[in-house]
């Protein structure tokens, strides 16, 4: 006869409930622990703890894995991609592109900044929300459009810049894609703002450069913003209900 979880030793599961609440929310965690406790009456304490551990992993693995992937992706971008840009792009510093000096600032810098932000945003949204999510699809599309800006060829950079501008304008005009653009923009602006602020504080107040710490803090806060705003994407708008049920 397996040893069951009785109400007398429920207090021992309080830390387990607290931990589960960190990944699932307190209401969900209470209900899950209740279900597991009820099932453990006939299946035993060992079953309870195995089921609890598996549930904790099932519900909580995505966020830490996505965060680590985002950090790794940014490190790859900083170490490999920007190194290549610095190496090959040096020969084309004087190039002005197809649209002249003034347009170069926008057409080359805009996709460059967007691509840098997407290096951490895309792995995060892909792991957290899956490939069918609109946020993932938009991030993937924008990265594919902006990544050619890292080539040294002026006409490729021009083309990438024009396509990026067109994609953003089109997304803002289409009701289905407007919210994902806003969420991605909010995530990216937060990341840039926090990383810049952290770097400024560390260098001016503490007089040392912990660049990696700045990036990690910036990305962590940006991803919290992204997770918070993601629920907004799932709120169906009245105009789309007909499409959904079609």
């Amino acid at each position: 006869m397996p040893e069951s979880i009785s109400s007398a030793n429920i207090s021992r599961t309080a830390p387990a409930e607290w931990l589960l609440a960190r990944v699932a929310g307190s209401t969900r965690a209470t209900a899950i622990l209740g279900d597991l406790t009820e099932m453990a009456q006939t299946r035993g304490r060992l079953w309870f703890w195995i089921a609890y551990a598996r549930t904790l992993v099932s519900l909580g693995w995505r966020t830490p894995v996505a965060f680590l992937l985002a950090i790794a992706s940014v490190k790859f971008m900083l170490v490999r991609v920007l190194h290549l840009v610095a190496h090959y792009g040096a020969h084309h510093l004087g190039d002005v592109g197809l649209f002249g000096e003034m347009n170069r600032e926008v057409l080359w810098n805009l996709p460059m900044v967007i691509a840098q932000c997407l290096f951490f945003a895309l792995p995060f949204v892909f792991v957290c929300y899956g490939r069918r999510n609109r946020l993932t699809q938009l991030a993937c599309t924008l990265l594919l459009i902006t990544i050619p800006v890292y080539t040294a060829l002026p006409w490729v950079r021009d083309l990438s810049g024009v396509l990026t501008l067109l994609a953003i304008v089109a997304a803002l005009l289409l009701s289905l894609w407007r919210r994902p653009v806003i969420v991605l923009a909010a995530t990216s602006v937060t990341a840039i703002a926090v990383v810049t602020t952290c770097a400024y504080i560390l260098t001016s107040v503490f007089h040392h450069r912990k660049v990696f710490a700045c990036e990690a803090i910036g990305i962590a806060i940006a991803l919290m913003v992204c997770s918070h705003l993601h629920g907004w994407l799932l709120e169906e708008r009245p105009a789309l209900i007909g499409d959904t049920h079609a």
Partner: protein, 116 residues
């Protein structure tokens, strides 16, 4: 159909189990119903992950029940399929039915015949 509303196989199984159970659908009874009707024993974590994802998509909603002693004083969370969830399930099942038409797959299995 909105791709974010398309349903996976396990999501359909869970929705069908919830609909069969009616007002009595919560974690324990859903797992028991799935085991009884499909022969599968899904892990509780898989069920909760699926339920939470469907809640985020608006396919199911939850309502709290009363706390009970056998649950350590914790309340049940009963699951209800929303109109959107029913529509998504009907759409997915309709696709299966369309693909099954003309195959006589169920008859062949029932009578152990031609396709065995």
């Amino acid at each position: 159909m909105n791709p974010e509303r398309s349903l996976g196989e396990f999501e359909q199984i869970v929705l069908l189990a919830v609909l069969r159970l009616g007002d009595a659908a919560y974690g324990v009874t859903i797992l028991d119903e799935i085991a009884a009707k499909t022969g599968r024993n899904p892990a509780p974590g898989a069920l909760y992950t699926t339920l939470h994802r469907m809640e985020d998509k608006g396919l199911v909603t939850f309502r709290d029940g009363s706390p009970t002693p056998e649950r350590g004083g914790r309340a049940k969370r009963f699951v209800t399929v929303t109109r959107e969830g029913r529509n998504a399930l009907a759409s997915a099942q309709s696709a299966y039915q369309s693909l099954l038409q003309g195959l006589d797959l169920l008859d062949a299995k029932l009578f152990g015949g031609a396709y065995a």
